[in-house]
């Protein structure tokens, strides 16, 4: 497929500003003005000058953002096989429901009896997610995976606090293949992070793990399948071990797509798990959010009749048989706290509701299966037909939803790096894989095709990788000049981060123009 992205050379919206108006509220104020006169604000509180916002008419605003959008690329444009992200198709019917206008004026403190429809949908979703994960109860509150992780870490913290052992429990174990959010979340919870290396077979190095495990271990965070797309085979032993020192097991659900309908974290010994609605359950990534990251727990005892569900830092929805009403139950004093004002990212949650309702259990299982077949088909073709790419860590093991391939052979032979490969893929109308992650794989290209891609697209994708490999041998300089079919060529990130140039807002550029020295040390 040839491809050329639109390039409008669109000015900054400030540069388009022409003293016009897109939205007015004048007429609406008339009658009030007649009664109250002019607006009166005490001098010491009055804004001294208008904010320097651009001034445009609606047509100019719409054109500006329409043009910008054509220089963006999403799943609606073509394959986005980013590993660790589960960029599956976002069905349009779910979009229609998620942003239903009737929800625009629903305030989160409206009494339960007036939002029964929404609560019923979310209650069902909450229960479905528990069934899917094999956990007992979920809160839908966290706004994303990372906030789910932090909620989980807060639960771990609270667990040990309630048991009077917080002082002792200072460490959280994380494998080195983990996503950056895991250690970062553990650190936000005030824990020391103990990293465990990955063994040659792709599992966490079990011996190293055993050695690291101690009475200081507050918990373990594990992604399973891992970011390598591999199922952690020692999971039962690991669970037993962590529990033996009264640690809790946290499941990072970002990779649930790979085992959907086949295995469940709740059956593996995990105590806490988050899900990424915007990965597994098809809500769109929106260029970086919003998503939703429900957190589920096994309802195991903590102490004195307190169980893990009491620690959830977000509301849960309960069905009250007596009143026949769905009710929001807010976290109590034993909880790890509260993670948001409101029940969760409702549009994204409704999206998941529609997705699960549409697919049913059968469809969800098929999702997992097709994503696994796609990955393994991709690897099989790639390994059979190329020499520049390898699959480190247990190359003989079947992958689940994703695979990490290494472009190291290619780099060694031709000098073409994973980044070059990525840019060359852009030129061919594909979004690039995640690169240089996980950190343990050199020249990593992390590919997750998801169930949404057709065999034809996978074939085209492998063909593109083959063609790039050949070009790397024939004319590597051409590749280094890629991409040329995107809106712009390679972007200067060094300049972007240079202390004297770094420009995070137009205001900063303006101030510099006015002669102000703005240097970032």
């Amino acid at each position: 497929m040839t491809f050329r992205q639109a390039a409008w050379d669109e000015p900054l919206i400030y540069e388009l500003s022409e003293g016009r108006r897109g939205l007015t509220f004048n007429g609406m104020n008339r009658r009030f003005k007649e009664i109250l006169g002019d607006v009166r604000v005490p001098e010491e509180l009055r804004r001294s000058s208008e904010p320097q916002l651009p001034e445009l008419s609606e047509v100019e605003v719409v054109r500006h953002f329409t043009r910008l959008s054509e220089s963006s690329y999403g799943v609606d444009n073509g394959p986005v096989p980013l590993g660790s992200c589960t960029m599956k198709y976002n069905p349009k019917e779910a979009l229609r429901v998620a942003f239903d206008e009737s929800l625009q004026l629903l305030h989160p403190l409206i009494p339960d009896e007036y939002v029964q429809g929404l609560l019923e949908a979310l209650y069902r979703l909450q229960e479905w997610l528990a069934s899917i994960t094999g956990m007992d109860i979920c809160t839908l509150a966290p706004a994303a995976g990372a906030q789910g992780e932090f909620s989980g870490v807060a639960i771990i913290h609270r667990y040990h606090e309630l048991k009077g052992q917080r002082q002792l429990k200072t460490e959280i174990i994380v494998p080195d293949s983990a996503h950056g959010t895991n250690p970062a979340s553990a650190a936000m919870g005030g824990f020391k992070v103990v990293e465990i290396p990955t063994a040659e077979d792709g599992n966490m190095d079990y011996e190293a793990f055993r050695a690291a495990l101690s009475e200081r271990t507050a918990g373990l965070m594990l992604t399973n399948p891992s970011t390598l797309g591999l199922f952690e085979q020692h999971i039962f032993d690991i669970a037993k071990d962590v529990h033996s020192v009264d640690g809790l097991l946290y499941y990072d659900g970002a990779n649930l797509n790979g085992i959907l309908g086949r295995a469940r974290p709740g059956d593996m010994g995990f105590d806490i798990a988050h899900l990424n609605i915007h990965k597994t359950f098809s809500s769109p990534h929106g260029g970086g959010g919003p998503g939703a990251g429900p957190v589920c727990v096994k309802d195991r005892p903590v102490k004195d009749g307190i169980t893990l569900r009491d620690l959830l830092p977000g509301p849960i929805i309960v069905y009250d048989e007596g009143s026949k009403l769905y009710r929001v139950s807010w976290p109590g004093s034993n909880s790890a706290g509260l993670i948001r004002f409101g029940i969760g990212n409702v549009p994204q949650l409704l999206w998941a509701f529609v997705y699960i309702a549409s697919l049913g259990p059968q469809g969800l299982r098929e999702v997992g299966e097709v994503s696994v077949i796609n990955t393994n088909y991709f690897i099989a073709r790639l390994l059979r037909e190329t020499k520049g790419y390898s699959v480190p860590y247990g190359p003989e093991r079947p992958r689940k939803h994703e695979a990490v391939i290494s472009a190291e052979p290619l780099l060694n032979e031709t000098g073409i790096s994973a980044e070059d490969v990525a840019k060359a893929l852009l030129d061919r109308g594909f979004y690039a894989p995640t690169i240089y992650f996980p950190l343990i794989v050199k020249e990593a290209l992390m590919v997750e095709l998801t169930e949404s891609e057709t065999k034809e697209n996978i074939d085209r994708y492998v063909d593109a990788l083959k063609e790039i490999e050949e070009m790397a041998r024939r004319d590597p300089d051409l590749l280094r000049r890629a991409p040329t079919n995107t809106s712009v060529g390679r972007v200067d990130t060094v300049k972007a981060n240079h202390p004297r140039f770094v420009t995070p807002t137009y205001r900063v550029a303006r101030l510099r123009q006015q002669g102000k020295q703005l240097i970032l040390r």
Partner: protein, 446 residues
């Protein structure tokens, strides 16, 4: 494809999973997942419509605010954010193919900076309370004192979230007093407490649970700075069409809720955390969240945008990162950018006036109807406390049954509030008739 892979059945691809873990098809299908079978799109559509119709939406827009507010969602905003190129994109890791997305986010940061009068804005947090939590952690990283100060009348939900963020690290959240006759902060109390050491002093501006705009806003910042604490100001951005922005107040960090900027309420499910700092290397280096920056292409030929200062973030710095955040509220930030561009400075001012007029008209009529309004005498903007002769929760429930959502019964959520206090919120969605209906009904039910 299975054949090509070299396996006989799909089960082989799961062969590395312990036998005991595997769920067979029958068992899986019997679990409580969906409606037990795949539904066709028209079935799902009908089902959801039916479900949503069970929500009782009032003909009169709710008078409920307190941190999340009912506001008009312009059609142009909706149309832009529905475009697949934005909606279905991932984080713009590949700058060359995502210039439009990057530019839109850069423009969000820029417009928000001008609105706040701050220099650096990240490309979004989840929501106000989590932005506040991160700002507090940030202040502790910078100042090293495990204590932050917040006003007594802080939004109780925000307070709980803040505590959730700070508690695991052993950070104390202490309150400084607020004069409950005016709603203004007690500067003497603040001075005394700040003098004992704190990494930051926080102000809500306006206070979401009283509606008051604190005249001491600048002074509070001075107290904070005198005590070597950072000054964090949390805002309702719409107020900034009329009132001094955090930059003018001397804020080091501004946080706030972008939800009023064209996002709609969605039962509190459509939020946008604002986080901004002034130009200080320390502040910028310690900021959480993603930042888009302006640059050029490598050949210098054209302007370009890319993510910057990524060494702060979890995917590079892991446990040393300034936050664990990655997925944020980017699409809502784009919505806010479209919204701000549609309004411009004039529209924003008109809208702020629109809100001011309605809350002040309501106060007038409430007083005429015999209520105390506002119960706190300070400057107010969008929300106001009304004092009634009866328990507000009872009154609220009776009105709700009539299809009028008459604000928030404060005592239910805030321990400093009187049982007779209700927090009413007014916006451009309310016509004079709506407000008159509310007050007449309050009179009758009272």
């Amino acid at each position: 494809m299975l054949k090509y892979i070299g396996v006989k059945s799909i089960d082989e691809l799961y062969s590395d999973i312990p036998e005991e873990l595997l769920i067979d098809e029958g068992r899986w299908a019997s679990l409580n997942i969906g409606f037990g079978r795949p539904l066709d799109e028209p079935e799902v559509h009908a089902l959801v419509k039916e479900l949503l119709s069970k929500n009782v939406t009032s003909k009169v827009p709710p008078f409920m605010g307190g941190g999340l507010w009912p506001h008009y969602v312009p059609a142009a905003v909706t149309e832009i954010v529905r475009r697949g190129e934005f909606l279905t994109a991932y984080t713009p890791y590949q700058a060359e193919i995502s210039q439009g997305l990057l530019q839109a986010l850069f423009e969000y940061q820029s417009m928000m900076a001008d609105l706040l009068d701050m220099d650096v804005v990240n490309s979004s947090m989840y929501d106000w309370p989590s932005a506040l939590g991160e700002a507090a952690l940030m202040s502790v990283r910078i100042k090293g004192v495990k204590r932050v100060l917040v006003p007594e009348t802080i939004n109780p939900f925000h307070l709980r979230v803040l505590e959730t963020y700070t508690r695991p690290q052993g950070i104390a959240v202490d309150k400084y007093k607020v004069d409950l006759s005016t709603g203004y902060a007690d500067l003497e109390d603040l001075k005394a407490k700040a003098g004992q050491g704190a990494s930051s002093v926080y102000l809500e501006y306006p206070y979401t649970f009283t509606g008051v705009v604190d005249v001491n806003a600048r002074a509070i910042g001075e107290v904070a700075h005198d005590s070597k604490a950072l000054y964090i100001v949390g805002v309702n951005p719409l107020a900034l069409g009329l009132y001094k922005p955090p930059g003018e107040l001397g804020a080091d960090i501004a946080v706030g809720e972008g939800q009023p900027l064209g996002l709609g309420l969605y039962y509190g499910g459509s939020t946008l955390g604002i986080l901004a700092v002034g130009w200080s290397s320390e502040l910028v280096r310690q900021m959480p969240g993603r930042i888009i920056g302006l640059t050029t292409t490598k050949d210098g030929a054209s302007r370009a945008f890319t993510m910057i200062l990524q060494t702060r973030e979890q995917h590079i710095r892991r446990s040393k990162a300034t936050s664990n955040i990655t997925t944020n509220a980017a699409l809502n930030a784009i919505a806010a950018a479209v919204y701000l561009a549609l309004l411009g400075p004039k529209g924003l001012k008109e809208l702020a006036e629109s809100i001011w007029y309605r809350s002040h008209y309501a106060a007038l009529r409430l007083r005429e109807a015999g209520f105390k309004a506002p119960a706190l005498s300070g400057e107010f903007f969008e929300d106001l406390i009304v004092e009634t002769p009866v328990s507000y929760e009872g009154l609220f429930r009776r009105l709700a049954a009539e299809g009028l959502y008459a604000g928030i019964p404060l005592a239910k959520y805030a321990n400093w509030a009187k049982d007779s206090w209700g927090l009413l919120s007014f916006s451009e969605l309310h016509t004079k008739e709506h407000i008159d209906i509310l007050i007449n009904s309050m009179k009758e039910v009272n």
